[in-house]
Amino acid sequence: MKRREFIKKSGVIAAGIVTAPAWFDMTGFSKTVSETQDLENLFNISAVEAEKLLRLALSRGAQSADLFFEYRPNSSLRIEDGIIKDIQYGISLGMGVRAVKGDQIGYAYTDAIDFQSMKRAAETAANIANSTESFKPAHFQKVAAKNLYPVKTYSIDMDLNPKITMLNEADATARQFNARVSSVIASFSEELRQIMYFDSDGKKFQDIQPLMSLRVQVIAEDGVRRQGASASRSARAGLEFFEKPENSPSAVARQAAATAIINLDAKPAPAGPQVVILGAGESGVLIHEAVGHGLEADYSYKNLSNYSGKVGQKVAAENCTIIDSGLFPGKRGALNVDDEGNLPTTTVLIENGILKGYMHNSISARMMKSNPTGNGRRQSYAYPPLARMTTTYLQKGNYEPEEIISSVKKGVYAKGFSGGQVDTIKGDFTFGVTEAYLIEDGKLTAPLKDVTLIGNGPDTMNKILMVGNDLKISDGTWSCGKDGQNIPVSVGNPTVKISEITVGGS
């Protein structure tokens, strides 16, 4: 399990985003949850016991402490070669205790939620501090939150047949799309993350966070060449999300198949600096990497970001206003409440090119004497919360997308993306393009092979010449990795013209 962790590079330096394989943990059991049900019974924890545990976590001089409970059923199905090949169902259950002194964190977790195990975790976490003073937890008061992801019926423990029907539909559509489609894998996964939280400031909340994903991968071949492509949709919603025409299994399958067929004819991309137009939606990866990670306040206050100390300075072109918001209903990046009891907000990160603020968790807000912005998130009960993104995007501008494309004599139009990576310290970022076209005399012409774009955050953001009026938030299965923790996020962008970015052609 943890054996491989230290060979990874990413946890140490890089922060990145990937399109996740459609695999999640799901659960079920016979326990049916409802939004109004009190999760205290699920976790077998009373306010009195929670207070006892918090006292223990504070017993060696920590200034604050919190308890995070999580019950998370996951279910996934996969069709391959036209048959339902894998069916999985599982539960992850546990609780984590955090004790905080300044920006020092003691963290321990347990998969067993009996009082003795939880007590041990609280005592272990307490060891981050070492003094005789001890703070007392305040009385609990429930955090009142809106529900951004109402679902009529949670499907996780329901009959698998509707989900199998979806996969069959995706499989059949992709195969019928074109005779050159030679292999199709479609997968569906869902989870229902049920969390409960208590902290020594007296905050208490619970939330039920549904997440479902559909992904289709297609291989196409014509006897000489072979190419692959994938498409996905994901949301905090019920199965009805896939009833919308643009999210239907057929639509996702057609998108994957069409891209694979187009890419059979792909030509090598040009090398060197080029004019690049980013298509609306998935290209929000640029905003996520070039700007987003560097504005996560835990990097900023430690001076580990190239945006550290630059509030009020010009860091992007004047036509750029960049926002992170956890409030988009039903998006992967939506949160009713973050993982440390703060309500999500709409945070203006950059306004008309000027750096305005950062995304905070509780600790970074305290260290920078700012307010939490509802960006404290953790992968699961096994991890302490970090400052993370939710839905991050560039606000729409004035140009019609066609107008932007026709303004370019020679360049690259990038439409589909696999993910990206950034070194927040110097600000260099890359992102991978999986669907791109040459622009010649204002028109899209030849499809281009997979290519990487590379740039430096503020440098590239200052080269944005035109911003389209077609902002789109991508519903792809975006998963963001930082410090070994992966969380679901959303990205968004309108059509954007960049005067120059290095294209990694061959």
Partner: protein
């Protein structure tokens, strides 16, 4: 450990009583510590003892998997019932099933995968080591202005596999690592790099001093980086970027990638795919190896597989499912977690050392690139097309001349394998995929 074997055996009996044809159970039980020191303070101390159990059930050649981190008997029992319930809606697949009985086995030699000392190291000593490491790193050069943190990680515990065909095995693993990330600044430009050492045994870790010095040297050498001009040049892969190229091979040589056609090695078995001097080995029996094991996650003995021999692709790496599907022999390569089905994976995967010193390889180039870092996006596994964000040092007249950043290197992996021309003598086993330095005759560098 006996208690966990007992739990697994009970699951098998219960599932068999419930009508399963075949069952296997994997239980993992590890104790982990993660410690982060930054600027002399403990920033994070995380301790845990995760346990989890995964159940695979086969019935009429249908398959289902359930798992839980909740090991109370009633919770496990519910997962057994859930597996029996959902197996009915999966499809019949003739290739499903546990391994044939004659395939089971375990390596008998002591592979030195568990060091009892790691469990005995007091937290204070871990704090002291990581603090010392950071302190030494920060002192290496006045241009080093900040630390991204000094980390201690350790993990030890057991993995238990029991199945209804009579296989029962437990293996113990341990590992520990120290790593340090530093930041240097000159003329308002910041640079960062890191170094680490990770081993199965505590006494095999590199010294704190050598980790600190390497982390500092790797950070300092980036100062003054330029963006190179766009051109086609010879490229030297250092051991880290070399391992990155091997990691691509490690993904596409798997039986699962082959039958899904998600690999540029489809239809390439027994064909020359690389220069004649190139050999690639996957050895799960390497003593002390980070990815060594006694048996794989289906109960087959760990083994040493020659993947590429004299440039010819000799085998795909297969678990039982992909082997049946491709009509070849399983290679003891099955890996899984408690929440995932087995699929093939490499173990200690490496390119054996060649005869050239790194200096000789660099010295053979009048104008070219020494590659030190690659970003992970930009690989098409179906076609082998390769376009990666990179960092490195420019080579002029056979010498490392100045650092370069913000550029890409591009090519096609199949063509790259045929244009490797010098293999270095500097192979070290640092991670699970390891490479010496080597040269590729020509690649496209895209910069200014």
């Amino acid at each position: 450990m006996q208690e966990l074997v007992k739990i697994a055996e009970n699951v098998i009996s219960e599932a068999r009583r419930g009508g399963a044809d075949e069952v296997d159970v994997l239980v993992n039980n590890f104790t982990n510590t993660r410690l982060k020191i930054r600027l002399g303070k403990v920033e994070e101390l995380r301790q845990s003892n995760p346990k989890a159990l995964g159940i695979r059930v086969f019935k009429n050649k249908r398959k289902a998997l359930t798992y839980t981190s909740d090991l109370r008997p009633e919770s496990i029992s519910k997962m057994v019932q859930k597996a029996l319930e959902i197996v009915r809606v999966s499809s019949t697949d003739e290739y499903n099933g546990l391994p044939e009985k004659h395939l089971f086995g375990k390596v008998q030699a002591d592979l030195k995968l568990y060091d009892p000392e790691i469990a005995q190291i007091p937290t204070e000593s871990k704090i002291k080591m990581a603090t010392e490491l950071e302190d030494l790193g920060l002192k290496q050069n006045p241009l080093i202005t900040n630390s991204g943190g000094s980390f201690w990680n350790d993990s030890y515990g057991q993995s238990i596999l029991v199945n209804s065909q009579g296989f029962s095995g437990a293996q113990e693993f341990s590992s520990c690592s120290l790593s340090l990330q530093l930041v240097a600044e000159k003329d308002g430009v910041k640079q960062t790099d890191y170094w680490w050492s990770g081993q199965r045994a505590f006494n095999r870790l590199d010294s704190i001093e050598s980790i600190a010095k390497t982390a500092a040297a790797r950070t300092i050498r980036k100062i003054g980086a330029r963006k190179p001009t766009t051109q086609s040049v010879p490229v030297v892969y250092d051991p880290q970027t070399g391992a990155d190229l091997l990691a691509i091979l490690a993904s596409v040589v798997l039986g699962s990638a082959i039958y899904r056609k998600n690999s540029f090695l489809v239809d390439k078995l027994n064909q020359p795919i690389a220069i004649e001097e190139l050999n690639i080995i996957d050895d799960a029996t390497l003593p002390g190896g980070i990815d060594s094991r006694y048996f794989d996650d289906e109960g087959l003995p760990a083994r040493r597989n020659i993947v590429i021999e004299n440039g010819v692709l000799k085998t795909y790496l297969c678990d039982c499912y992909s082997a049946r599907k491709l009509q070849c022999t399983p290679t003891g390569s099955a890996r899984r977690g408690t929440s995932t089905d087995p699929s093939p994976s490499t173990s200690n995967f490496f390119l054996p050392a060649g005869k050239y010193s790194p200096e000789e390889i660099i010295g053979s180039i009048s104008n070219g690139l020494y590659l030190t870092d690659l970003n992970w996006v930009g690989i098409n596994y179906v076609t082998g097309d390769y376009s990666r964000g990179a960092e490195g040092i420019w080579i002029e007249n056979g010498k490392l001349a100045y650092p370069v950043q913000e550029f890409t290197v591009a090519g096609n992996v199949l063509e790259m394998l045929k244009s490797i021309s010098m293999i270095g003598n500097d192979l070290e086993f640092r991670g699970s995929i390891n490479s010496p330095t080597f040269k590729i005759d020509r690649m496209m560098v895209s910069g200014q």
